[in-house]
Amino acid sequence: MTEKTNQYSYGKAQLFWLVTLRVIIGWYFLYEGLAKVMTSGWTSYGYLMDSQGWFAPLFKALAQNQALMPVVDALNMYGLILIGLLLVLGCFEKIGYICALLLLALYYLSHPALINAEYLFPPEGSYLWVNKNIVMMAAVAVLMAFPTGKEIGLDRAIFKCSKK
């Protein structure tokens, strides 16, 4: 009987680079979150109001809802931090990936790289439909398909314990 597990199925280089990718993406999320928390008065109001594309009315309505905005801001800031921690530590990594994909999808939907879109925060590159959020989503999806937390990460201990 073959146990369906990734254990020992990666070569050393494969494991090294997968873990590196996971930690780097985690770092990116973690610091994005920390920077927002440390900026007093930070709000995603401006970003949301600058939304374009099909979902723009939804994001703008959200921004203008005074009761919801603090919740949206808190979810974004602490969501980023939590995802970052989960990815860096390899702790419940699947949850981390799913949350990361969700946030990235929201960012993309709010600021899609459309042909006629002009944003207030000009992007640092040139994009057509595909932008860095999409690239990051693909990278996260790859990591989700090739999990590493049970190799290098807290999941190694967590899932061993739960197996017992």
Binding site: V23, W27, Y31, T39, G46, Q66, V88
Partner: protein
């Protein structure tokens, strides 16, 4: 053998732990990085910290359950705004707002109006000398549930044909005066004498002599007088005041303000109501208080300004003069009274300037050659010798190219509109070190403040400016959006209930009126006017 196994287990355990915790040090690296970055930022923030402000506490809400009974005098353009701010609007107007909101969800006026706080007031009396306006005011006063057409209305407030009858009514505690300018002072004095609290539209007065009388009437009683400069409620101006108080601009030598309008409505060419005629308008009452008119005529004739009187006879019925009264000296003081007063009061609020030492004006009727007597282009320069500064007001009604309101200091210039920005001067001495270190970039907005954000980073953001310029921002108090006229009226009502002093009371009003009169007289007489501080009089140069 057993020892070997034990050793193996230990090393396996170690390896397990190592693999489990391998990435934890990454968090340590990040913590170190964040610490270093913060330290670096902090050294750069020294300049920015000077622009860090605390939110001012809002005066406690007045919970006195007493319902204040209001009388409305004048239900024209501004009267309607004021009554809306009180929470009363005609069913037709509510219906229009609702329709606009249904066709465009972004149009939040209906929602804003419906959510506007109940001020615990009742409109018991209205007075307007044009029947249609009076009837509309009654309908608005009865619409206590803020309903559209076919709603449920309460009994209508009583209509008085003469404002003095309204002032004599026992069921009126306070009045809102939104009659034409030539009535402001007289109505305020009469209302105070009748024991009513007064909210009066700006300008406070039309003639100089009545200005003293209004002040005397307010001082003599214990009624609350608020002049209608709703800019007093704009959060940005309070922040501007703090910036000046901290000396962040350095010595201020020049203040520039302006009016830039470019449409007939902005030049007071208001539409004439088809229902208006000598039968529906009480022209006699429109003419004005005889005593005031005499003061006006006395000044104009004694100063050799008879050419500015009329040209129509005062008793001749005229729809133009009734609806567009701001175009004639006979009823208004033109740009000085209508728009200079707003600019002046905003600057007075920020700099506490008081009445200037002198005023010089020039201008003319350059575009609207429609028979008006007041200028459509006007420039007035006020000198404040003790403060070592000039205040410049420059207006045109035939170009709306935006000129910002600027307070110009040796170290920095502050521009104030719906947002506020401070630009450091390249030659500043106060910021010399920071300019050299590259922390402050002279010539670029260094600090911007957008109301609604509790604490803004002292790094300029194009975003905030962008949103403000596109009208996406509103006036905020503690993060909540408000209409400034509503706040100004609310403050007046709170002061009535709690015996507090309003932000634009008689002292501010007296300064506003005298300053405007100095500018007006300087224009009319073509010479500099001076303020004699001891005698409190305007004197000729």
């Amino acid at each position: 053998m057993a020892e070997d196994k034990k050793k193996k287990n230990i090393s396996k355990g170690r390896r397990e732990a190592l693999k489990t915790l391998a990435t934890v040090p990454v968090l340590g690296v990040m913590a170190y990085g964040v610490y270093k970055k913060e330290k670096n930022e902090r050294s750069k923030r020294l300049a920015a910290d000077m622009f860090r402000f605390k939110e001012k506490p809002v005066p406690p809400p007045v919970t006195d359950g007493k319902r204040i009974r209001i009388g409305i005098i004048g239900y024209g353009i501004r009267g309607k705004d004021l009554m809306n701010a009180l929470g009363f609007s005609t069913p037709q107007h509510v219906e229009d707002l609702k329709t606009a909101w249904k066709s465009n969800a972004q149009d939040s006026r209906y929602k804003d109006f419906m959510e506007q706080e109940d001020l615990n007031v009742e409109v018991t009396a209205v007075c307007d000398i044009f029947d249609k306006h009076a009837e509309e005011a009654m309908a608005a006063g009865a619409n206590i549930h803020r309903e559209g057409l076919n709603g449920k209305y309460e009994p209508t407030p009583k209509r008085y044909r003469h404002y003095k009858e309204l002032l004599a009514a026992d069921d009126v505690d306070a009045v809102i005066i939104a009659a034409p300018d030539h009535w402001h002072g007289t109505m305020t004095i009469d209302a105070l004498k009748a024991g009513k609290h007064v909210y009066c539209e700006k300008p406070m007065t039309w003639t100089v002599p009545e200005t003293y009388m209004v002040r005397e009437a307010v001082r003599a009683g214990n009624r609350v007088f608020q002049l209608g400069h709703q800019n007093r409620q704009i959060e940005t101006y309070n922040r501007a005041r703090e910036i000046v108080e901290r000396g962040l601009l350095g010595p201020i030598t020049l203040v520039e303000t302006s009016t830039n309008r470019n449409d007939p409505n902005g030049a007071w060419v208001y539409p004439i109501d088809p229902e208006a005629n000598p039968k529906t308008i009480d022209w006699k009452q429109f003419e004005g208080d005889p005593e005031r008119v005499k003061e006006y005529l006395d000044y104009m004739t004694s100063a050799g300004l008879a050419k500015y009187i009329g040209p129509d006879s005062r008793d001749k019925f005229s729809l133009e003069r009734f609806f567009r009264w701001r175009c004639w000296w006979d009823y208004s003081t033109g740009l000085s009274g209508d728009l200079l007063t707003h600019e002046y009061d905003a600057v007075n609020q920020i700099l506490h300037l008081g009445i200037p030492d002198s005023a010089s004006s020039s201008g003319g009727i350059y575009f609207f050659k429609d028979g008006r007597t007041v200028p459509d282009v006007l420039h007035t320069v006020y000198e404040y010798k003790d403060r070592n500064l000039s205040l410049l007001y420059s207006a045109t009604l035939a170009s709306e190219f935006s000129r910002s309101r600027k307070i110009m200091g040796h170290d920095a210039t502050m521009e104030i509109g719906s947002t506020l920005s401070v630009t450091v001067d390249p030659r500043s001495e106060q910021y010399k070190d920071q300019i050299e270190k590259g922390v402050v970039k002279p010539g670029q907005p260094f600090y911007t403040y957008t109301p609604g954000q509790k604490d803004v980073d002292a790094i300029s953001s194009a975003t905030q400016l962008y949103f403000a310029q596109r009208g996406l921002l509103y006036s905020y108090v503690n993060g909540k959006r408000f209409n400034t006229t509503f706040l100004h009226i609310k403050e007046w009502l709170d002061c009535i209930r709690a015996g507090r002093k309003p932000s634009c009371g008689i002292e501010e009003g007296f300064q506003e009126a005298m300053t405007a009169h100095m500018g007006t007289r300087a224009y009319l007489e073509g010479r500099t006017m001076y303020w004699d501080r001891d005698k409190e009089q305007i004197v000729r140069g």
